[in-house]
């Protein structure tokens, strides 16, 4: 456990020092401000209310989870595996007294930490923005809905990240993995519309599972089914990704 911890802290430090994480937070902030400006424009231009202060973070999440967050997660996940292999820095950790399973798990845990922090930052910023621009409509239940929505979104994003990490261990080129991830993401999004009856099986459809958590009558069985599908994806791609990581000769 000590060595897993060491590898996890190292990965977080590297992420932070690369400044990529800070850039991502800044982009997230710009997105939120842009979103709020759009809402204001709709309100003043068309005379419609737009969204309340507690709805605004959920509106941001619905856009964020389907666009920028998967993109950022892909960037970080690819960097942590393919990037290190191609820059030859992977052997720094691989020659230390830590098993490949622990190192692989620590790297995935670091990606999960990044996803969680990114979601929390967006949650806090969007809630504050919503509150500043529309202070009248804030309430406790609304806040709980926001927190739950953002927290449960970590799971589908991590299922997606583990799939990307699998491809990061298949290909040696970061750009190839990045574009493959984008193409697969768009393809599965399109398939959701072509085959709506099977859409719940596609990993991209799970990104909106937070909606199930905040619906009026919480559908436990549906939540459980989607959770099991995501776990299935996670276990399969974790195992396949680790197999490739472990067998890789440097």
């Amino acid at each position: 456990m000590e060595r897993f911890r060491a590898a996890f802290i190292n990965e977080i430090e590297k992420m932070y020092k690369k400044k990529k994480a800070i850039v991502i937070v800044i982009i997230s902030l710009i997105t939120i401000i842009f979103g709020q400006l759009m809402v204001i424009a709709i309100r003043s231009g068309l005379g419609i209310r737009g969204v309340s202060s507690t709805d605004f973070p959920l509106l941001v999440l619905s856009v964020f989870v389907n666009t920028i967050l998967p993109l950022f997660t892909a960037l970080v996940a690819i960097d942590i595996f393919t990037g290190e292999f191609s820059h030859n820095t992977m052997k720094i950790a691989l020659t230390k007294p830590i098993s490949r399973l622990k190192l692989f798990s620590a790297k995935i845990a670091a990606v999960a930490f990044f996803v969680l922090i990114n979601l929390l930052v967006v949650m806090v910023l969007s809630t504050l923005t919503g509150f500043i621009f529309n202070p009248a409509s804030i309430n406790a239940i609304g806040l709980v809905r926001i927190v739950v929505s953002y927290l449960v979104t970590v799971i589908p994003i991590m299922a997606l990240a583990i799939i990307i990490i699998f491809f990061s261990n298949v290909f040696r080129n970061s750009t190839a993995v990045f574009f493959l991830s984008i193409i697969l993401f768009i393809a599965f999004k399109a398939l959701e519309f072509v085959f709506p009856q099977y859409s719940s099986l596609f990993f991209t459809s799970n990104l909106g599972w937070y909606n199930l958590w905040i619906s009026d009558a919480m559908p436990f069985m549906k939540i459980l089914r989607q959770l099991l599908i995501m776990l299935g994806y996670g276990i399969m791609f974790f195992t396949a990704g680790y197999y490739l990581f472990d067998k890789k000769d440097l």
Binding site: E2, R3, R5, A6, A7, I9, N10, E13, K14, K17, K18, K19, N88, T89, K91, I92, L94, T95, K96, P97, I98, S99, R100, K247, D249, L250
Partner: protein, 241 residues
């Protein structure tokens, strides 16, 4: 004598037909073992397998009695190594790079980090990003990270690459000092015969992926004018040139 490193029938074949065949070696505590061979002889392949960077087709490596393939963490606990090139994270400072390494060991504190930076002569660049370092400075940082945890076995692949004459002399001195004072065992690969002659007390010759012979430097120099003569004679005797 305590066996520190045991290599048993190590074989690795590449698709191009090159590789290493049935390499077996025993390294004992206090040895400064020179792994001598020309470019492409299989030195790095053997060392990559020894440090877990590569999997062997056959055979295994035991470090302090622990198998590298099945008990990697235990095997690497008291090992420091540089394989091919001394890598470091360019966006971190020298200090941060060493702190990354230190987290894997319980016996390394801030004082020890300063100590190794001092030993390798890069203390004044402690807080500089490694991307601004010259090749020689990166090599020194690599050596600093290797000795950071006071390892009992040090595996170095071409450790003098990129160093100037002063750096070479210092590293040679450091190797001898650690071997004498801390009984650190060294396994050093090199294609520089003179360098091996000056540094190592045991020499193994690898050629075409096979070990030709292993002997003590003292014995070799009693029978041959230089290590170079011995190397040529061994290669010739085995009908390779």
């Amino acid at each position: 004598m305590e066996k520190v490193l045991e290599i048993n029938g190590l074989t690795k074949m590449y698709k191009n037909g090159r590789g290493i065949w049935d390499i077996s070696l025993d390294i004992y505590r206090g040895d400064i073992f020179g792994f001598l061979g020309p470019n492409g002889a299989g030195k790095t392949t053997a060392m990559k397998i020894m440090t877990g960077l590569m999997k062997a087709d056959r055979g295994d490596v035991y470090i302090f009695g622990h198998s590298v393939s099945s008990d990697f963490e235990k095997a690497m606990e008291k090992v420091g190594c540089i394989i091919e090139t001394a890598e470091s994270y360019p966006y971190l400072t020298a200090y941060e790079n060493l702190r990354q390494v230190s987290r894997y060991y319980s016996n390394v504190d801030e004082k020890r980090i300063d100590e190794v930076l001092e030993i390798t002569g890069i203390h004044r660049y402690k807080n500089e990003k490694v991307r601004n370092f010259s090749l020689g400075m990166k090599q020194r940082l690599g050596i600093a990270s290797v000795i950071l945890s006071k390892p009992e076995l040090v595996i170095l692949d071409e450790p003098l690459n990129g160093l100037d004459v002063e750096g070479m002399v210092e590293v040679r001195k450091l190797i001898k000092h650690l071997a004498e004072t801390e009984k650190t065992t060294f396994f050093i690969s090199s294609h520089l015969i003179h360098d091996v002659e000056l540094t190592c007390n045991r020499v193994g010759i690898i050629f075409g992926g096979r070990i030709l012979n292993v002997d003590y430097t003292e014995n070799i120099l009693n029978n041959y004018a230089s290590l170079e003569n011995y190397f040529i004679s061994e290669v010739d005797r085995n009908g390779k040139i």
